[in-house]
Symmetry: C2
Subunit: 403 residues, 2 copies
């Protein structure tokens, strides 16, 4: 048996019922054959968090984040203690810990706090007694002694941070069997990726892949924590994320290797038109959008032939009213296009291969799909297209690049 | 405004829905007119604790008390944070605290731990900021940093202990409008007691009155905490418990003054028969009952005419099988009578008035009710009767003693 530790993380749907908690326990016991020290991080059962928030909405018109954190923290305490008692019942010593008891010290705002540090003494003590450690994810305690939560994807962050502190491998169990080249709901025969690096995973997370949050990948990359994303049944090989430079196998060495195609829906695009040569209104516009908490995603600015600038940006459909208010107030001429999707192709090999963009553009011609914006990074290209064309485009890309 | 503190405690049925939590908030705000420092102790919402225990039963054949404590502690955290956010929403600064955050240090076994001490600093800090303090009842943390719960009536104990530490009055709000001379479900026109002393309240609690647990009364008596038991709507005058010697008003100064008639159902009586003159088996029997965690309530032993002893004891119906196992093992001849109730009359004046027992026995003759056992204390007399006769007996007692 390797004398190594693993952190296993299970999300809300993996522990949504007592039956699923039993399945999770079996998977933990199976891993116990290989690893003698196991730390488990769990989310709240199923819809618990949503149900608690709905109670809160009935009792207060505004969200009081300090109290919401207190409220939500109860959900993970329930799943952690239930899992622990079931493991004990099966003959495997276990102990549950709140985020505070597990030593997670947080800072920053309530409902989106960060992990400042972890004091692992209580966990190490339990591991030394050969106990399986079950930690309530998503939560910790700040310097004022208040319970805080870590925001969306918080349990993943708890898991990666614990793995970093304990020098452990981190396994994230979820409803999908790993990371695919294309979302299997769009392309059922999409290939699963056995191995990708942090940079690719991060780009995927930022560009719409929902399997793991960018924040957790960044943390894993920073501390070089090997991540493994797999199905919560444990019987299908998942995806490893590390800094290894192992490449995907390809029969044709010259073939362009992409790792993933991602899609984000509900995109809205705005073109600002008839701008002055140096238009301070454009700066005001982005300041006001930021003040209104409206997130601008893609932003393109270029000089037209008459040396007047043209500006395009995309945002989320839900911010439509807020954007219109600001544009009208600043008296812009603008064009707004709705019902768009952002389709991105991602691969760390792209920086070495000039041909990807050319191949990609050829797909647009062949498929006769119009696009509204293009934006590129080192390892990805994103296209804004009509949502009704997105699926056709993704499948055409997948065919072209052999995903 | 008096510069005094009060602790207000609300049980599970008082916070069972968001609507009832709103009612509780209104009552707190009403008290805020008179008291500038309010500490509220809440139980878990309605059936939460039972539902959590039912989840636990599905996942483990045995109760693992350390994990059960962790699990149950979540319930009070939910109700405390919901109440706090509603008060904030109404414009009254408030803050919720887990038992640990409120400084409740516990010791002893899980699921029935005791409060060792309270570090009130966090509470005092919040009070100094003019916040209403909401404490999750029923829970604390032991020296090992583990969450423990205080057992049945634990939230009452949290409230009384906080009141003792903070030199506060303690108000227990519940489903009944105070303490009555007779359970109003048995005798709808029973009188409510405005004022009783700790000793009387303790005897009532021990003899079946369910309004407040003996443990909380003992704690209040020890630290001289004024207790007030009232309806959770706040619009009906309740019952004060203190060490004041104020007496109930009576028109006839010679009238026998009782404060309460209580009843406990599901009583089982055992008579051990044909015993030896000095029967060591009797001692073995009580040792084995104690080892099996079977609580013997009333115990009478007397010498019969032939100098052989006779022993009778009562226990709870649920322990029937355990008792039979032990009696058979020790080869006793015994008589077991089931479906009995223990009816008790209580009054601190009884010690000064020899006539009570005589009056009480006259009731049995007049009503033609047989009784199986009688047991007396300084301030109470308990009778074991058939459950089918208990209600008739209670009403006859109430008529006789003007309750």
């Amino acid at each position: 048996m390797e004398d190594k530790k693993i952190v296993m993380k299970f999300g809300g749907s993996s522990v949504s019922t007592t039956e699923r908690i039993k399945d999770v326990a079996q998977l933990i016991i199976h891993r116990k054959e290989k690893y003698n020290h196991i730390i488990v991080v769990v989310s709240a059962m199923g819809d618990t968090t949503d149900n608690l928030l709905s109670l809160a909405n009935r009792l207060s018109k505004q969200p009081y984040n300090k109290e919401i954190d207190m409220l939500l923290s109860s959900g993970e305490i329930v799943s952690a203690s239930l899992l622990a008692m079931h493991l004990i019942d099966l003959g495997y010593p276990a102990q549950s810990f709140t985020g505070f008891q597990a030593g997670l010290k947080t800072r920053g705002q309530h409902r989106k706090s960060q992990i400042e540090n972890i004091n692992p003494n209580k966990i190490l003590e339990a591991l030394s007694l050969d106990k399986i450690v079950i930690v309530a994810g998503f939560q910790g305690m700040n310097a004022e002694g208040e319970i805080t939560t870590l925001g969306r994807g918080g349990s993943d962050t708890s898991a990666v941070a614990l793995a970093a502190k304990l020098n452990a491998r981190c396994e994230i169990y979820t409803d999908v069997a790993g990371i695919y080249t294309v979302d299997p709901r769009i392309r059922p025969n999409a290939k699963k990726l056995k191995q990708i690096n942090y940079e690719e995973a991060l780009e995927m997370a930022n560009l719409g892949a929902k399997v793991i949050a960018a924040r957790s990948v960044e943390l894993a990359a920073k501390y070089n924590v090997p991540l493994y994303i797999a199905l919560n049944t444990g019987n299908v090989e998942g995806t490893c994320i590390s800094n290894k430079e192992e490449k995907l196998m390809s029969e044709n060495m010259e073939e362009i290797l992409l790792t993933n195609i991602s899609k984000i829906d509900d995109v809205l695009m705005v073109n600002l038109e008839n701008l002055e040569k140096i238009d301070k209104n454009v700066i005001h516009c982005f300041v006001e959008l930021a003040d209104a908490n409206i997130n601008v995603d893609l932003l393109n600015q270029m000089l037209l032939k008459d040396h007047h600038p043209a500006v395009s940006f995309t945002a989320h459909q839900e911010d439509k009213d807020g954007i219109i208010t600001i544009l009208d107030k600043l008296e812009f001429d603008y064009l707004m296009v709705e019902n768009l999707s952002k389709v991105s192709i991602i691969g760390s090999d792209m920086r070495h291969q000039v041909g990807v963009a050319a191949e990609a553009f050829r797909v647009f011609v062949e498929e006769d799909i119009p696009y509204y914006m293009v934006s590129t990074s080192d390892i990805s290209i994103s296209y804004v297209v009509d949502t009704e064309n997105a699926k056709q485009l993704i499948n055409a890309f997948a065919d072209r690049f052999g995903l």
